[in-house]
């Protein structure tokens, strides 16, 4: 389709102007589209709970890129600054004397509620990712993993004797102290600060999905979960749920 030569110049000018115009429009358009307020979708939790709780985690949709609203489970489980979390929901904190305090985190604390604690003996060697303590009751016990390598040099007797009285999992609720052997290497595998908080949020959402729809609307109001969630959710099979989360 021939057109006369001179009209090329006009057409090219129009093309480039159009392209520049498009680029100028594209920037605000992109920003407009990306500034999406994520729909506060009511979690469509199922009525029938899967015993394969792993399904809840594997089907977890993940965070939308650019979401600005905090997750409804953000305030459920806390971790203070300076405390390092292990994915098995135990924590480690560096003390001034070079030792490391170890305990179970807020999530594990609330999940299991008041439960008997089986703590390691003095002098026991513990290894990161290996079972070091147990929580549970007379019938079932769930092991939990040590967050670092080392040897146990102190044990919180009060926690062992009266676990139900300890409400501060990171403070008075410390369980034992460890003399670390590979502290720097261990710390690289632990979470602290924002990643730790996000980890707890994710754990909270995984729990939320298992709840009935009624509880899910509690979610929207920002209600906080009660102690002993595992038992409330899974009844006699609470230890299965706990094991899933504690990676034991």
């Amino acid at each position: 389709m021939a057109h006369d030569f001179l009209s090329i110049y006009g057409a090219k000018a129009a093309e480039y102007l159009l392209a520049i115009g498009y680029l100028l429009l594209f920037i605000p358009f992109w920003r407009y589209v990306q500034g999406a307020r994520p729909k506060e979708a009511v979690v469509r939790a199922g009525a029938a709970a899967h015993a394969a709780a792993g399904a809840a985690r594997t089907a977890f949709p993940g965070r939308a890129a650019g979401a600005t609203a905090p997750s409804p489970t953000a305030g459920w489980f806390q971790v203070p600054a300076g405390v390092y979390l292990h994915p098995g929901h135990t924590w480690a904190r560096l003390e001034a004397d070079g030792l490391v305090s170890v305990g179970i985190d807020d999530f594990a604390h609330k999940l299991v509620g008041a439960a008997a604690l089986e703590l390691p003996e003095l002098g026991t060697r513990v290894a990161q990712g290996e079972p070091a303590l147990e929580v549970g009751d007379d019938e079932r016990k769930v092991p939990m993993l040590s967050p670092l390598d080392g040897s146990v040099v102190a044990v919180n007797a009060a926690a062992r004797e009266h676990p139900e009285a300890i409400d501060e999992p990171y403070g008075r609720g410390w369980l034992f102290k460890v003399k670390p052997s590979r502290l720097a290497a261990n710390l690289r595998q632990l979470l602290e600060g924002a990643p730790a908080r996000r980890f707890l949020e994710d754990a909270g959402e995984a729990i939320a999905f298992r709840m009935s729809p009624q509880l899910a609307t509690v979610l929207q109001d920002g209600g906080t979960p009660i102690h002993g969630i595992a038992r409330a959710l899974a009844g006699d099979d609470w230890d299965q749920l706990a094991r899933q989360h504690f990676l034991a």
Partner: protein, 412 residues
């Protein structure tokens, strides 16, 4: 709350048990047939009752008796709609597949399998439509060896052949899971990333080649649609079609198959909004591409004509408008708006393909010689769509497409 352990189905007793369990959904033959008597199925039955004999009649009596194709309109509805539109609307397979497997957007896993199934069935129906349209379809068996490599149609045919095979392989994964063949399923799963790369590659080639088909008819395709870059337009519009079609298909599926989705923590609304975001941006770019095509071809003068009005309807009403609706809906969480925009996007792509292949083609001919589809052509096209929908429903009701098979957790 019952701590139910998922009941893994007891091993079926022999083949009869297998049929009852897997095919008849656990019902007896009588119950199953009774369950099939629904109004929707009645409509489908009527469509097939006329359409299937029509299809047979076409092979008996030839194209002249069943179509309005002519010496001046060699391509009609079966090429323009069944083949070209069918193939472009099946582009969701590679767009979502690539998003999940290659770009790592895991959250779209939930709609990946339905998109691939839609694509697979879409291509099968497109190929059937093609077989109906070809004058000598039996020669299709030999075409790969005839090396008509100067032809864009050769490339289309080869790439469609390869891509349909890739789609078929991707579909075998849920099929193997349904049949319980664990080792085969595990093997297929390992191939998935390679298949996805191939699917993007083949799709790029044949989606664009379908546009290249029209490069050699500059005097027959209206200047508002003809551009040397038509193959780029067809590829970008394939992405637009893929996104829009997945929005529409998943919206319908989630409503129709909602029972399968109960208990799944899949936030379908969030996924649809995410697709809306992607669709908004791609459609926005595609709109400007179309304008560039007009300017580059010096064709702005035609905008004032009747064809110009058609072009403006296609571009403003079915590309720009849904782009803006996608943007607004995605930003403000309005799922229904995004779904509506997806529908507009699909219709826009259908309109574009029909415009290029039929409406704006041979536009200079006097209206007496212009092509209007025969009612039989329309009915056969509707029949093929119906078969595709029925097959989709049959498969989704049985195989782990929208839900996970409990024997293969984590695969969905």
């Amino acid at each position: 709350m019952a701590s139910a352990r998922m009941q893994v189905a007891a091993a079926p007793q022999g083949f009869g048990g297998f049929v009852k369990e897997k095919v008849l959904l656990g019902m007896s033959v009588k119950d199953y047939v009774r369950s099939c008597c629904t109004p929707v199925n009645a409509v489908a039955a009527v469509i097939l009752a006329v359409g299937l004999p029509l299809l047979a009649y076409r092979f008996y009596a030839g194209l002249g008796a069943t179509t309005n194709l002519s010496q001046t309109a060699p391509w009609g509805l079966w090429i323009g709609f069944d083949m070209m539109t069918g193939i472009v609307l099946a582009a969701g397979g590679f767009t979502i597949g690539a998003s999940v497997q290659i770009f790592g957007l895991k959250e779209y896993h939930a709609i990946e399998r339905p998109a691939i199934l839609t694509a697979f069935l879409g291509y099968v129906m497109a190929v059937i439509g093609l077989i109906a349209d070809l004058g000598r379809p039996w020669n299709m068996a030999f075409f790969p060896f005839n090396y008509g490599t100067a032809s864009a149609l050769f490339e289309v045919a080869w790439c469609v052949l390869c891509y349909t095979s890739v789609l078929f392989l991707e579909f075998t994964l849920p099929f193997f899971e349904w049949a319980g063949w664990a080792r085969a399923a595990a093997f297929m799963k390992k191939l998935l990333i390679a298949l996805t790369v191939l699917s993007v590659m083949f799709s790029t080639m044949h989606q664009s080649a379908l546009g290249s088909l029209f490069l050699l008819a500059p005097t027959k395709l209206h200047p508002l649609w003809y551009t040397p870059f038509i193959f780029i337009f067809f590829f970008i519009s394939a992405i637009v079609a893929g996104i829009s079609m997945v929005v529409v298909e998943s919206s319908i599926s989630h409503r129709v198959f909602h029972r399968q989705l109960e208990g799944q923590p899949v936030d379908a609304d969030k996924l649809i909004l995410g697709l809306g975001k992607a669709g908004a941006v791609v459609m926005f770019a595609y709109f400007f591409l179309k304008l560039q095509g007009v300017v580059d071809g010096h064709a702005w003068g035609y905008l004032a004509t009747g064809y110009g009005a058609l072009f403006l309807v296609e571009v403003l009403g079915f590309i720009l408008l849904p782009s803006l609706l996608f943007a607004y809906g995605a930003r403000n969480g309005k799922v229904k708006l995004v779904q509506f925009a997806g529908l507009l996007g699909v219709l826009g792509i259908v309109l574009n393909r029909l415009n290029v292949s039929v409406v704006a083609f041979n536009w200079q001919l006097p209206s007496a010689q212009r092509y209007v589809p025969h009612w039989m052509e329309i009915w056969v096209s509707v029949t093929l769509v119906t078969i595709g929908v029925l097959a989709f429903r049959w498969i989704v009701n049985r195989m782990p497409i929208l839900r996970e098979d409990p024997r293969f957790p984590g695969a969905h």
